[in-house]
Amino acid sequence: MERRSFLKMSAALSCAATVSGCNSSSKDVEVVPPTPPVAGENLNWSACLVNCGSNCPVQVYSTDGVITRVESEFTTTDKYGDHDVRACLRGRSLRKRVYAPDRLKYPMKRVGPRGSGQFERISWDEALDLVAEKLQGTIDQYGNESIHFTYNSGARYHFSGKQCLYRLMNLKGGYLNAYGDYSWSQIYEAAGQTYGSAGPGWQGSSVSEMQNSDLVLMVGYNPSEIRMSGSGEAYDFLMQKQKNKFKTILIDPRYTDSAVGKEDQWIAIRPGTDAALFEALAYEWITTNTVDQAFLDKYCVGYDEKTMPAGVGYEESYKAYILDNATVGDSTPGVNAKTPEWAAAITGIEAHIIVELARELAAARAPFIQIAASLNRQAAGENNTRAGYMLPILLGQLGLPGTNCGGLCKGSFLHAPFMPTGANPVKKAISFFTFTQAIEDGKNMTVLSDGVQGVDTDEEGDGKLGTDIKAIINYGGNALINQHSDVRKTEKLLQDESKCEFILVVDNWMTPSAKFADVLLPDVTWLESEDLIYQSYAAGDTATLVQMSSGVDPMFESRPIYEVCVDLAKRMGVEAEFTEGKSRTDWLDQFYAESKAATPGLPDKEVMLKQGIYRKYLPDGGYIVLEDFRNDPEANPLGTPSGKIEIYSSRLADKARTWKLKEGDVISALPKYVPTWEGYEDTETKKKYPLQLTGYHTKGRAHSSYHNVPWLREVVQDAVWMNPLDANHRGLKTGDKVHIFNDRGTIEVEVKVTPRIMVGVTALGQGAWFKPGGDVDKGGCLNVLTTQRTTPVTKGNPQHTNLVEIRKV
């Protein structure tokens, strides 16, 4: 902006010199006295219910039914441990989101081609008749398994949210299940294979446990950008760091906002190469005898000859693999040993830094190691993550104070019930990420090729899904097109009305996904809702319950989805089962009573309506993941087949033998660094597209939520980050409009030339809204560039694995 060309040091100096004779205080002007608060101003508590991991409370002020401002809660002493839960910039912008010009005002039906965004207003009666008829018609013609919910997380209500729609469909015979999600599919798998359940993957030690650590290793972990709530992990991390002074090492392609002075060391790494670094650390520890041999012998399977499964030789052990030497007792490295020098050229990290990192980790009294979800959204996401878990395992540093197993930090928890969905009679399931494939040709998707679950199988364990997706319900989410990979491919697929025949979208705004609806229903926003909500799934060490209420009426003709589902249930003949004879108030009272039973300190609802929030710091104390197992592995075996930590996974060995993989995909019994398609080592593709491009969570959105708030677009620039060396090659400077492109598409964004990113790597905040039309997406949606190709094991999303080129417009 022109007025802010620079903080005008030189200009100011000259100004000061020329005007020094003026009065510095004007006595002639008196301002109007402070205005007292407007009479009749109402305060209601509401909350931000997006998918960042925290549900922050907000205080909503309204006058005459109009929201006038939003404030964070400010009701405690704010002493850490009894501190306010302050919403981040997104929560503070909520008024603009409620009153956004693109709010959906009325039920609508599509009148133009699908995706064109051409709709006409219809009545609620007509809309509900149409939806009931289409859903019933799909069930009758294609069966329940042809109806699918796209993944969604944009409106995390407890009472009147997506659960209502699942409940309705379950009462009507069910729908095609999905397993996994865009966040953590490969984490669930990696933790499941290694530690016996998904839990340690996404619920590792709590942030509070860092106080007992002397070295926190953050591999991609970035609480300051992804967990920004003012009582969440970002604040917990800051408080622990400033108080306890532990050393912090960040490994990330970006110099993130979790660095900026809180890091003791930033190690820049190329995306997708973390496993090579981990293997080099393993090499250092093995060759310097700093692995915890007693721990590996007692708690693990597959490290060396002592703990191999029956029938599997030393040559398939982790130690033999790292050393590239299959002879028991011979530690001489082979030519393919995973040395620091080998890893240096792949990761970009100088060998001496790797050696020093290995030494520091081995010397640490209690290293707290976190392997973030960014590693799991890569082409070899399962292996990346498993390879990361080897760090605490090799050092025997898990289940002890101050340590972590590599998992994400577990958030504190108070209970608030969700609307019960009932059970889905349909057992068939696909990976959430393959719904487009199931629209295209679900009939021929199989267990061994596509990870289909819940189908009848033959003697080889294979079986077909046997159905295509013919109807989609998309509630409060943007994965129908924007958050799913390869937007252009999805766009074409959805435009073909002969494939998916009916799309219902329920949302608050005209999102990219909403544009692809056949029927579009307007939901109410959080600030127009009553609900009792909890802190969400990763809110850090403070657990909360918030009693939401509203001082404003639903805007235009928007309606809560609970009421909509009651009306649909009526039309579809399951009203009595759906409501169980309960009114809306009955449900809310019931949920409140259940919460109070689980948390006896929770005041009565009348009190909570006024005080808004109930909180407890670490209600169950700090959490050390796998502590029980560490203390007594016999009494507390893991859920793996062996009951131990499986470095060598027999289940994955089976899959490696039987599954039908695409060329280049690898399933391995051991965690391994796997060079992949569109990875750093894909030299063939790099001839055309030499830059790695990774997505990240921008502070200006939670995924695609809040994209339509101009305040946020202003204060957090949507620009692709590029290292000055790469920018110089291309003649680019900050603010230039650029095209980012590969074979899947082209997007137009601004470039931000910054030293805060690795050479050869670019990064773009994910979630910007796709703008259909033309060959270039001027909305800047990252997923125009990502692929629908799946990860090998979970058939999940490798959305951070992309090669692109960038050119000035």
Partner: protein
């Protein structure tokens, strides 16, 4: 001024993560449009990258954030530059305000201020700026930016109280801010460990489009 209260800010740059919540909460309080930011968060950083020729790279990158509203300076150059007396410093609390009915929108103050605090409202052709949330102070509250900060990096109060509360805090002679001798700002900072001195040349503002 001597006997009256002088309000000012303390910003802890070691805590600030650049989240911009202060910027947005300020906009919500006064319903400021896109283009007017009474509070701004500057991203300052630098460092050199070297490709070592063996696939590895070396770097010495640093960055930090600096959140700035109006410093309600003791020597406010904006007031001195104002030809109509619209820009004035209040005797009772030292806050620098604009009297909108006297402002002719000439932007002299904006050109004078080295912190970019006065920001013109182009539609109304009148200057606007951080007013220290004086009406919130009257209610016993802190300014919106202070109460919204998720990292508790901003504080506000009488300068003598802030000095006592933050004995380690220093004058804001850090990049990208000008030297405090220019306007005698009522701003104390706790520096980031990466903070560079005012006028440093090894870094630059990295986020002009956001401020």
């Amino acid at each position: 001024m001597s006997n009256n209260i002088q309000y000012g800010f303390h910003v802890d740059a070691s805590k600030c993560t650049g989240c911009k919540t202060c910027q947005v909460s300020c906009k919500d309080r006064k319903d400021l449009p896109v283009g007017i930011n009474w509070r701004r968060v500057y991203e300052y950083g630098g460092g050199q990258w070297t490709e070592n020729g063996d696939g590895t790279v070396s770097q010495n990158v640093f960055a930090y954030y600096m959140s700035i509203g109006c410093n309600h300076c003791s020597e406010p150059v904006c007031v001195k530059a104002c030809p109509t007396g619209a820009m004035h410093k209040r005797r009772e609390d030292g806050l620098v305000h604009v009297a909108a009915d006297l402002c002719i929108g000439c932007e002299s103050c904006a050109r004078a201020c080295p912190y970019d605090a006065p920001q013109i409202d182009k539609d109304r052709k009148v200057m606007t700026k951080c007013d220290g949330c004086y009406e919130r102070l009257a209610e016993g509250k802190q300014p919106s930016c202070v109460e919204s900060c998720p990292m508790r990096a901003i504080d506000f109060g009488p300068m003598d109280e802030l000095k006592a509360k933050y004995p380690g805090a220093i004058s804001p002679d850090v990049a990208p801010l000008p030297e405090s001798s220019v306007t005698t700002p009522n701003l104390l900072i706790t520096p980031n460990r990466h903070s560079r001195p005012s006028g440093a040349t090894d870094g630059e503002v990295l986020n002009y489009s956001e401020v």
